[in-house]
Subunit: 596 residues, 2 copies
């Protein structure tokens, strides 16, 4: 289909402009019909292969194009051609005029070879050298060096739109969004009617939301404290260390003399490292946790604090980790220590990898910001309606009925719909809308916060594509730094450590939010993620693997929502077990329900 | 995005083949970056407009391209270039070689104008002359004459793929299909587990299916009788009438003499018309109905008989209606009376508009047929699981509980999910898979059984696009024939008659299938369809209208499924009212439930 569109693009331009005489038009039409028929499958012995390759080419185009374009747009040092320049149609026209002579004369030489050999290429090109996820392709190696770059020399920030923003320009995809909005409208209407019947008036107090986001003043205070700490402590620790380290290094005795046991720079470094770790563990680690428990914040408020805590810890680590190598040689190479405003920008911009500068967009589209904010709000209310209409009625009275395996199975199955809806909403509201909103306000141009995880055929792909922001951090600071310390044959251990860290942090967030320990997500992480990754991972490219991934995602969401909800209500309705620690660790839903 | 892909297509071909020298490659890359940036939005005052127009162009390409290609592929008399020819890469290469000289020399003349003016066109082209649904566009008028043709000179059959077959080549759309399959798998697994717990063994007897499709032998007998009748009666009536009419006409006195009151051809015509109507009303109309009631067929079996009855009646009408004008002048113009095999082909091919010949595909792709058949079966089992797992548990015991408005509202709301799933499955299994399967087996090339109804912004669009097969019949034989008889100012009446006929037939099918009369669908047809069509119809193009359409579709499916299910169970559990007719006409669910 895409190949047709490509042809349509050319032909419509040609015909619209009525530039060509009839013969050339006819030639073009014939050529198009032939090529498009090639891709539509048919009766030749190679027709299926041609069709497959057309599909592969299509996927290949989809995947490689942004990378290709970006490799060209971004100059090596990370800055990018300003949009104002490239966007200007007048400048495009004048450039075209300047170049057309050159183009015209060269094209004559190339056109004949191109036409014939393109047909040959379509017929003979093996789909094997087109990688599905588009990281590599048969483009000239000079472009590949930049496309491939991230894994070799750190994340390469490039100006690029989010995939959903691109996809939502296609009306078929837009319609899917409209269907979700329509469903929200029906949720609202039916809730209003039911509430009106129940209460005799319109109920618009959103009890659940005001409960979940309660005690917001403590959230703000904690956040402000975390923010101020994160802004000043690591920055001044690093800058003082740099100064002291450099001074000590340059006052060191000559290399000819034997070194002391603890050289001056190392002594200073240890001192600062201890202070830094104390800040990370106590200041950022313990303080918000203590605050959250002390003021007994409700779940959503806890979630905000804990997610911000994790974010600040990761940002701090990245800032320190990226700057230490630079700072060690700051006087040698005239590298400037990052300014506080650069660090402040990093604290807000939607990435966890520190750079002194990022590709920027020329201006803020405030309408875009407004739409994204409205969408975040919409998702919040959507989640509210899903909880009040689909989840709470299902779990509220589950402890009163005899509990059997059948009830559990049905419960998990009926949790799939609300579970997957919440999953979609979380993805869309946070990874798409929220991050894009901040990126737009900060003119942050690299919007690849996620890739097309929905097309994945394996969990390892899915983990890479679902949350690129966090994955980049884990990849660069856990996986690669692990392999810097240990030999490269410990790659499996490195992968395992990434998985484990990710699972532990996810479980930590949930445990604090809900106020109980029930490692369902951890179990699923280990089960689906790690075990399946090592057992079943390989070149699983077929649609069957995508179907299986979705079945597992559906089931996973159902299990998560069902088990955590059961435990939540068990903690409300059932008496605690003896011993505080025992009660926190052993799921109360196991002992509480009357097994029938 | 699509424009990028278009560019990628070219550039990847060029770079892959490594045909171009570095300067030209650079020129191409720069050109691409510029153009793609134009479309990515930016800071110029016209950037939003440019973006809008890029979107419009994209939609325009999507919509017009198949039509354009087809207008070129199909020769006016309806036959089509064979796929085998166009599909052959070798022939493409040799043609390219023949044409490359011509192409090369002409391209030099055009390339300069093209490059510069394409930029101008992108900047200045108003999106107003691009119609969203692609019926018309600014392509040269010589193509338009054929694209526009259907409404002017009867349906124009063209070789074209179904839209879903095209869309499902895009991996993002494919993933949606995979999600549905994943859900089906979970349905199956959870049902197996629950059945195993309940019964202690795997239950695979599909009781509901064997009930609904019971007494299949009577279905087959009735269908065979209908088929034989439809095949021979109208054909021989028409051929005899033609012979008699022609004979009578050529033995008529000269035009100079005064005409008799009932001229011989008219007398013959009336005789044959009465026989034809008797066949339509009694043979096709009453006989299957009598059979269905006499043998008390279960719902799905009834549905097959009744849907086939309606189909045969429509086919017969089309065959007679299309052939009468031709047959009246058969001796004058040497038009050949259609052969029985042409008529037989028409009875099976997926269209309701008779033609002596249709565009045909060169061969049958049996793998495609197999996949479509498997998908039909899959949809059948999907529907089974939706009924047994989501619908029956919800409605089975509804008569035991006090019935309130709240129960009704919640019931309708909870019916939305199964309702819309069944709606999707019905569309996909029948309008896409079933019709494509028959089309493929009969090498019927025009696969436009539906258009992109999901993108519609009004119900009148939706009615046109949802079922193109039936819509074409209604448009040509009800709407246009109505306007042939009555003056053109009765257009509203013509539209009304189409709606009414459609609503009545839909309600007739449901009434016979369920065995009771409860005109919910009729009411919705009138309500949503007709009233909204006349009150709200206009140039509603915004996304809000698409959202509203979906909200209405969701709600409509919920209402349909909920009310028909309630009535179904009320007829099982509650005693009939006095009087057979009264009981058939008044919904028993109204009187049966205990209103609380």
């Amino acid at each position: 289909m895409c190949i047709r569109m490509a042809q349509t693009l050319m032909i419509s331009l040609l015909t619209d402009l009525e530039l060509l005489d009839l013969d050339l038009q006819n030639f073009f039409f014939k050529h198009l019909v032939q090529t498009s028929s090639c891709f539509r499958g048919g009766n030749g012995p190679g027709s299926n292969r041609v069709k497959e390759e057309a599909g592969a080419s299509y996927r290949f185009f989809i995947c490689t194009f942004p990378a290709l374009i970006m490799a060209q747009t971004s100059v090596p040092n990370g800055s990018v051609c300003s949009r104002s320049e490239t966007n200007n149609i007048v400048s495009f026209r004048s450039r075209a005029e300047m170049l057309k002579e050159d183009f015209g004369s060269q094209l004559v030489h190339q056109a004949d070879c191109f036409l014939v050999q393109s047909a040959t290429a379509i017929g003979t090109k093996s789909s094997k050298d087109m990688h599905l996820n588009g990281k590599t392709s048969s483009v000239p190696s000079r472009d590949l060096s930049e496309v491939k770059a991230p894994h070799e020399k750190g994340k390469n920030f490039q100006e690029r739109e989010s995939l959903l923003d691109q996809l939502l320009e296609v009306n078929h995809i837009q319609t899917i969004q409209h269907m979700f909005v329509a469903l929200l409208i029906l949720f609202v209407i039916s809730t209003l009617i039911v509430d009106y019947i129940d209460e005799g008036r319109l109920v618009l107090d959103f009890e659940l939301l005001s409960f979940a986001f309660g005690k917001l003043q403590w959230v703000l205070t904690t956040w402000l404290a975390m923010f101020v700490g994160t802004l000043f402590v690591p920055y001044y620790l690093l800058s003082h260390w740099t100064r002291n380290y450099q001074t000590a290094r340059h006052h060191q005795p000559n290399n000819t003399r034997p070194k002391p046991l603890l050289p001056a720079p190392l002594g200073i470094t240890v001192l600062y490292a201890v202070s830094y770790l104390a800040f990370q563990l106590l200041g950022l680690g313990m303080f918000p946790l203590y605050y959250v428990v002390k003021f007994d914040l409700p779940p959503a408020s806890r979630f905000i604090v804990i997610i911000e805590q994790v974010r600040f810890m990761m940002k701090t680590h990245s800032f320190v980790r990226e700057n230490i190598p630079k700072c060690m040689y700051i006087k040698d190479s005239q590298v400037v220590f990052p300014s506080l405003s650069q660090y402040l920008y990093f604290l807000f911009c939607p990435t966890l990898i520190y750079r002194d500068a990022y590709p920027r967009t020329p201006k803020i589209r405030w309408a875009y910001v407004g739409i994204k904010f409205a969408q975040v709000l919409g998702c919040l209310f959507y989640t509210y309606y899903i909880f009040t209409r689909l989840c709470i009625p299902m779990y509220k009275n589950i402890h009163n009925e005899p509990f059997t395996i059948k009830v559990l199975v049905l419960n998990i199955f009926h949790s799939i719909l609300p579970g997957i809806l919440i999953f979609f909403l979380a993805f869309f509201s946070f990874l798409h809308c929220w991050l894009n909103m901040f990126a737009e306000m900060l003119r942050f141009a690299d919007r690849m916060f996620y890739e097309d995880w929905w097309n994945c055929t394996s969990f390892s792909q899915y983990f890479r594509k679902w949350n690129v922001v966090v994955h980049d951090w884990l990849f660069h600071y856990v996986y690669r730094d692990f392999l810097r310390v240990f030999p490269r044959r410990f790659r499996v251990a490195a992968t395992l450590s990434v998985f484990l860290l990710s699972a532990v942090i996810h479980e930590y967030i949930l445990t604090v939010c809900f106020g109980f320990f029930y490692p369902v997500l951890f179990f699923l992480f280990i089960c689906f993620g790690m075990v399946l990754k090592f057992l079943l991972d390989g070149e699983n490219k077929g649609p069957v693997y995508n179907i299986m991934l979705w079945a597992k995602l559906f089931l996973g969401q159902g299990v998560l929502l069902s088990l955590y909800s059961q435990e939540w209500y068990a903690r409300i309705h059932c008496p605690p077990a003896q011993g505080v620690l025992w009660d926190t660790v052993v799921p109360r839903s196991w002992s509480c329900y009357q097994w029938g």
